[in-house]
């Protein structure tokens, strides 16, 4: 276990350590993060990182393989453009959580603010609480599962991402529609819940949303939808 106490600096050293492919299997502990930005970004190997406090912007950005846990809240863009690995936020996440993430799993045990999963490109996002407006905006692929409610304009201009929401959806965005929940979707929901360690929620309570695919080919008659 290597400890970085950010009260004494060391952000550069932490990130440099995570950029060493040789850190596979190593464990890192980050003390006094105090909302520092760019914590544990660009990790390249399967290390375990425990952040003991609140993280600022872009925590775990572009993560590859690492397992990163924030024992607090996370600022804007946690796990942005993540490629693989696992990021868990024990508290709440600010806007753009998991933005453009290509792979891996982001779990937010609190709630996530606006634009959660914006332009999602293949990752899984599980939010124990609720998500803010414009979540999954232009989401291309991957899955967003929300155990609470979703704000306005969920899935606006969505492509092929799959959205599951257990609570109320304040409004759907352009080209996002509710879809039938079939057995394969129940299995998918169960898998996502399991990956997040959530065992007190029933898959059957979720509703599914996705693309109506009416914006896939430009049509002037749709001009009010854009």
């Amino acid at each position: 276990m290597t400890t970085f106490d950010l009260a004494e600096g060391g952000l550069r050293e932490l990130n440099a350590a995570l950029h060493d492919p040789g850190c596979e299997g190593e464990r890192f502990r980050v003390l006094n993060p105090r909302g520092s930005h760019a914590l544990a970004v660009g990790a390249v190997a399967g290390a375990d990182v425990e952040i003991e406090g609140h993280a600022g912007y872009y925590c775990a950005g572009m993560n590859q393989h690492a397992r990163i846990r924030v024992h607090g809240n996370a600022g804007v863009g946690v796990a942005e453009n993540m490629m693989s690995g696992t990021v868990v936020v024990e508290g709440d996440a600010s806007a753009s959580a998991g933005a453009t993430a290509h792979g891996g799993t982001l779990v937010v045990n609190g709630s996530a603010a606006a634009r959660c999963g914006i332009s999602l490109k293949g990752a899984d996002i599980v939010v124990r609480g609720s998500v803010g407006h414009l979540s999954a905006f232009m989401a291309q692929s991957g899955r967003l599962l929300v155990c609470g409610d979703a704000g306005d304009a969920l899935g606006d201009s969505i492509y092929e991402a799959r959205l599951y929401v257990r609570g109320a959806v304040r409004g759907l965005g352009a080209d996002c529609v509710e879809k039938e929940v079939r057995d394969e979707h129940l299995a998918e929901i169960a898998e996502l819940l399991d990956s997040a360690g959530i065992d007190d929620v029933a898959p059957a309570d979720f509703r599914r949303y996705g693309s109506a695919r009416t914006l896939y080919h430009w049509n002037a008659d749709h001009h009010q939808a854009y």
């Binding site: 970004v41 804007v76 914006i118 490109k121 293949g122 291309q140 430009w218 002037a220």
Partner: protein, 430 residues
């Protein structure tokens, strides 16, 4: 018969087209309207009070370093002419490879675009700038580290404030895979970044990118020319190493004609405002300024540098050098309802030159080696032209050109470029 100045033939034809098709005109390229430009400036040359340099004997250097402010590995280019960002998707893989070959041959850089980095492009480009765009198509940390510099795209001159649209006919299986989209659908690119808004956030974003790349890569910020004084100042405040400023004549792969022609300002008007911002911050030459949008010749290069730019970037000119709008293809352009010299339906993917297409048969027509040689010839010619003009002004480096070497032919150009109207000492507005 008297033609209306207001409803001229072009206007009437556009109204008729709109009534027929019910959709705005989408096209490639940049603004076609006449705007004040480098043609409206002249060099004064040497005279009694200034010595020229001998054209074939005395050296006139052209090298430039980009990214010297914070990056551990700034770019060192042999010439101050770089290749602007153009995507694989908008362009064929052969075209991207040709751009890399031509640029590398002349010791300069090329740039990815909204679609990620292809292996051909990386391999053929000695120095490659990797764009971070709002869509983040193809963005990944491995390519980020493989790049020589990172360019955060806030906007482009053809469409400041606009996103993008790559029509389905150009979304081949390979393009779709790189962008993680279904093949054959119209691909929309967002106009705002997904995880930052405004300069305060951008500063933090730049910090993240520096951490991910271990502070090695120069970070460029590209803006469309609209409010360059403020945008350049804010880019500097945000921590940019280099600011790329793209005027309204800068090209796009596909945008609404109304956007291209009616948003943004000419690069001539933008450069002095950008330089003013840098000088006030004492960052001129510390943060390098790269300008683009309508750069065609060595004269344009020299004039841009004289106004205070550190380098220029070319897009449309580079495509023409590769073979775009070649006269020998006139018959094929006419079959598409256009003609050589006029073809701008780059978004349709039917380019007979094999450049703005993903059709395998069409793309195979472009030989990347031969096209790369043509681009290298063009870059060398521009460099020689710029050197010729710099020597005539007595400069041993093209960066020694200065506004004092210039005069303007029109009142508008004089006011915008802030150099005197020729034959006078008058600069309107000063």
């Amino acid at each position: 018969m008297r033609e209306s100045a207001t409803f001229d033939r072009d206007t009437i034809a556009e109204i008729q087209r709109a009534a027929r098709e019910g959709i705005y005109d989408i096209r490639g390229g940049g603004a076609k309207r006449r705007v004040p430009h480098f043609d409206d400036l002249l060099f004064l040359g040497a005279s009694m009070s200034r010595y020229p340099l001998e054209g074939y004997r005395e050296a006139c250097a052209t090298d430039v370093a980009l990214g010297t402010r914070f990056a551990e590995k700034p770019l060192h280019l042999d010439i101050p002419i770089t290749i602007a960002g153009m995507s694989f998707g908008a362009l064929s893989a052969n075209a991207k490879e040709a751009l890399g070959r031509g640029a590398s041959d002349c010791g300069t850089s090329t740039t990815t675009g909204d679609g990620g980095m292809t292996p051909e492009e990386r391999q053929s480009s000695k120095t490659l700038v990797y764009q971070l765009l709002p869509s983040r198509y193809g963005m990944n940390p491995d390519d980020l580290r493989r790049a020589d510099a990172i360019e955060i795209v806030v906007g482009q001159g053809a469409k400041p404030g606009g996103g993008g649209m790559l029509l389905g006919q150009k979304i081949s299986d390979r393009v779709a895979e790189m962008r993680d989209l279904p093949a054959g659908i119209d691909q929309r690119s967002a106009c705002r970044h997904p995880d930052w808004t405004g300069p305060d956030d951008l500063e933090i974003k730049i910090g993240e990118l520096r951490e991910i790349t271990d502070w090695q890569k120069p970070i460029f910020v590209k803006v469309g020319a609209s409010r360059p004084y403020y945008d350049v100042a804010l880019a500097v405040k945000s921590g940019a190493d280099v600011v790329v400023l793209d005027g309204m004549q800068g090209g796009t792969a596909a945008t609404q004609d109304v956007f291209i022609e009616h948003v943004g300002i000419p690069i001539l008007a933008a450069i002095p405002l950008a330089v003013e911002a840098l000088q006030e911050l004492r960052m001129h030459r510390e943060v390098q300024l790269v300008v683009s949008g309508g750069i065609r010749s060595g004269a344009d290069v020299a004039k841009a540098l004289a106004l205070g730019a550190d380098a220029v970037s070319i897009g449309i000119g580079a495509l023409i050098a590769l073979g775009d709008n070649a006269p020998e293809l006139d018959e094929q352009y006419r079959a598409l309802g256009s003609a050589a010299g006029f073809y701008d339906d780059w978004h349709e993917g039917r380019d007979p030159a094999g450049i703005s297409t993903q059709d395998p048969e069409l793309a195979s027509r472009l030989d990347p080696e031969a096209a790369g040689r043509r681009l290298a010839n063009y870059l060398r010619t521009m460099t020689l032209e710029a050197q010729t003009l710099a020597r005539a002004c007595g400069k041993s480096h093209v960066h020694n050109l200065e506004p004092e070497d210039l005069v303007a032919l029109t009142i508008e150009a004089s006011a915008m470029a802030r150099v005197p109207l020729a034959g006078t000492s008058w600069i309107p507005g000063t």
